[in-house]
């Protein structure tokens, strides 16, 4: 195959993959405006009917409220714990460093059901009632790593001439940290927070095992897909969830130049 042909083939492949990635998401948004109750393609017509119904559904609203609540608390906890870990690790080369790296990424690398079942057994054994708190504990466990990754990556990049310059000018370690490192870090911290929020807001598997009678939005969606009677509302809610999960990620991507948002801890 000649070089041009290869390029054309590759370009065609890229277009096909992009279509594959995006057509389903476009379909979702189209269905959100479906005027009919029936879930068949093509949709009968466009209307805001189901968006209205959904916006007035107390059940949906309370599920959204709970999910936002959980995601916010999770984000704060993940921010504190993830930043701590990143600061502790970044300049040291002690023996346990790789182990800690590995430990933090484990809840994302192991299937979610393992984390879920393990926490379920833990709470069950400890006689701890499942509640909003247990959901938050589960979410925080796998959200710490996204904050950690972002902050650590930024720390590694900023430890350099600026810090040295500050030290040369007579600033002590703490002053350097406060006046130089922290401002440079802020966008990485915000990016980490955004990602933790998005991750928590959408989580279902760990939540299923750590929730009691609480309905987070994903649990509501899952139940309604199975129940099948309010699918038009599911269309709307699901479109909303896509937006809610994408917007923080776009912000995070802008703040970090894309690198911190890879989720899979690669492109660092």
């Amino acid at each position: 195959m000649s070089e041009t042909l290869t390029r054309i083939a590759l370009r065609a492949w890229v277009v096909l993959v992009l279509l594959f990635l995006f057509i389903p998401m476009v379909v979702i948004f189209l269905y959100a405006f479906n005027s009919s109750k029936i879930e068949a393609w093509p949709i009968e017509g466009f209307s805001l009917r189901w968006i209205n119904v959904t916006l007035n559904d107390a059940e949906v609203l309370s599920a959204i409220k709970l999910s936002v609540e959980v995601a916010l608390i999770t984000t704060v906890l993940a921010l504190i714990l993830g930043s701590c870990a990143a600061f502790a690790i970044h300049r040291t080369t002690f023996f346990g460093r790789d182990a800690i790296n590995f430990l933090l990424v484990l809840p994302l690398a192991l299937p979610g059901i393992i984390t879920g079942v393990a926490l379920h057994a833990f709470f069950d054994y400890g006689g701890i009632l499942l509640s909003v708190a247990t959901i938050v504990v589960g979410h925080t466990t796998f959200c710490i790593v996204v904050v950690y990754n972002n902050v650590l990556a930024r720390l590694r990049r900023t430890q350099g001439s600026l810090v040295e310059a500050a030290m040369d000018l007579g600033a002590n370690g703490f002053q350097t940290f406060r006046d130089i490192t922290l401002p440079l870090l802020s966008t990485a911290v915000i990016a980490g927070a955004m990602l933790a929020f998005a991750l928590s807001f959408d989580e279902i598997i760990v939540t299923t095992f750590t929730a009691g009678a609480q309905n987070t939005l994903p649990i509501w969606i899952f139940a309604q897909i199975r129940n099948g009677q309010r699918l038009p509302e599911v269309n709307v809610v699901v479109s909303f969830v896509i937006l809610i999960t994408i917007i923080p990620v776009l912000i995070a991507a802008r703040l970090t130049g894309g690198g911190g948002t890879s989720r899979v801890p690669a492109a660092r």
Binding site: K37, I38, E39, A40, L129, L130, G212, A213, Q214, N215, A223, Q224, I225, R226, N227, G228, Q229, L231
Partner: protein
Amino acid sequence: MKFGAIAALAAVAVTACGSSNNNGGSTLQQPPTANIKPLAQIGAGEGALTLIDWGGYVQSLWQKPFEQQTGCKITYKDAGSSDEMVTLMANGGGGQWDMVSASGDADLRLIYSGDVKPMNMDLIPDWQNFQTAFKSPAFNTISGIHYGVSLQWGPNTLLYNTKKFVNPPTSWGVLYDSQYSGLITIPDNAIQIADAALYLSKTKPSLKITDPYELTQSQFDATVALLKQQRPLVKTYWAAVGDEETAFKSGDVVVGAAWPIMTTDLKTAGAPVNDTIPTEGATGWADTWMLATNAPHPNCAYMWAKWVSTPTVQAEQAINYGETPVNTKACAVMESLSAGSCAAYHGNAPGSYFDTIKFWKTPIATCDDGTKNCIAYAQWQSAWTTIKG
């Protein structure tokens, strides 16, 4: 799976209780919660109520007015099987759940594991109007102590696509017919083995099956073999009401074992379906709202039990779900809501109809004749896993 053993043990205990008192541990004789005094009167509502229900048992039609009148905001979880209900209710509802709409095959397990507690029927005025058979039925009342309020009962049906079936199918045989390969759906539930046993009891008299929940080894093996033959024909094993409805709506399946609510839902959605009870008869359920031992909102729970027993809600639910109300006063309301519905759902002549349904109960090792030759539910569950593969 060990789980079924509990059921079996509990049920053995019950049988022992009923027939003779000389075997079984004394702790099994009386439900653990038998001595808990039920509420003497309904106090102020707690503002919230958490329910575990069969998909469709909490509908806005009767949920909304209840919430408005009592201020008890309902959170509910649809369960797909009795086993799931029993699990959710572990530890007396885990301090999370107030009530569960349990069927006959879950009631005794819940009662004997201490997960539900006695209820005071004096606080349920409409209880007086219940059909006699449902005032103190053996599946929810033990030694005169009520562990719940009877609700509704009905048959499992054969659901079919009217475009594919010009004449309604008359036999469960269609579910085992390779002509419909890939177009069949079956509940994902071990109790489904009873449906196959019921079919065999009529089509293979040589097996001498009399009760589909009491199967000897050879009867059980024949039933499981039939279900394994059926496996490749099945498009999907549904575990929730919506699974089956979606599959029927989209046309992915055209015939299946179903619950009456699906027919109602699908017809409302404009899908070309109908249901029937084939000549072999049907399995069915009788449900009870039971109160969790650790219910966090007992007053709201009683208000709910009272509410769903009223003729209007009984009628609404009966029509909505396609089942038979236990409240005798519901018939008139059903007629006013939809003429002919009382007769259609057997609200008026329940006695003979009641006898045609083989109600869900937990299979135990002890057969009716006292021998221990029957297959217990634990084996039903592991057999079901092997059937599905």
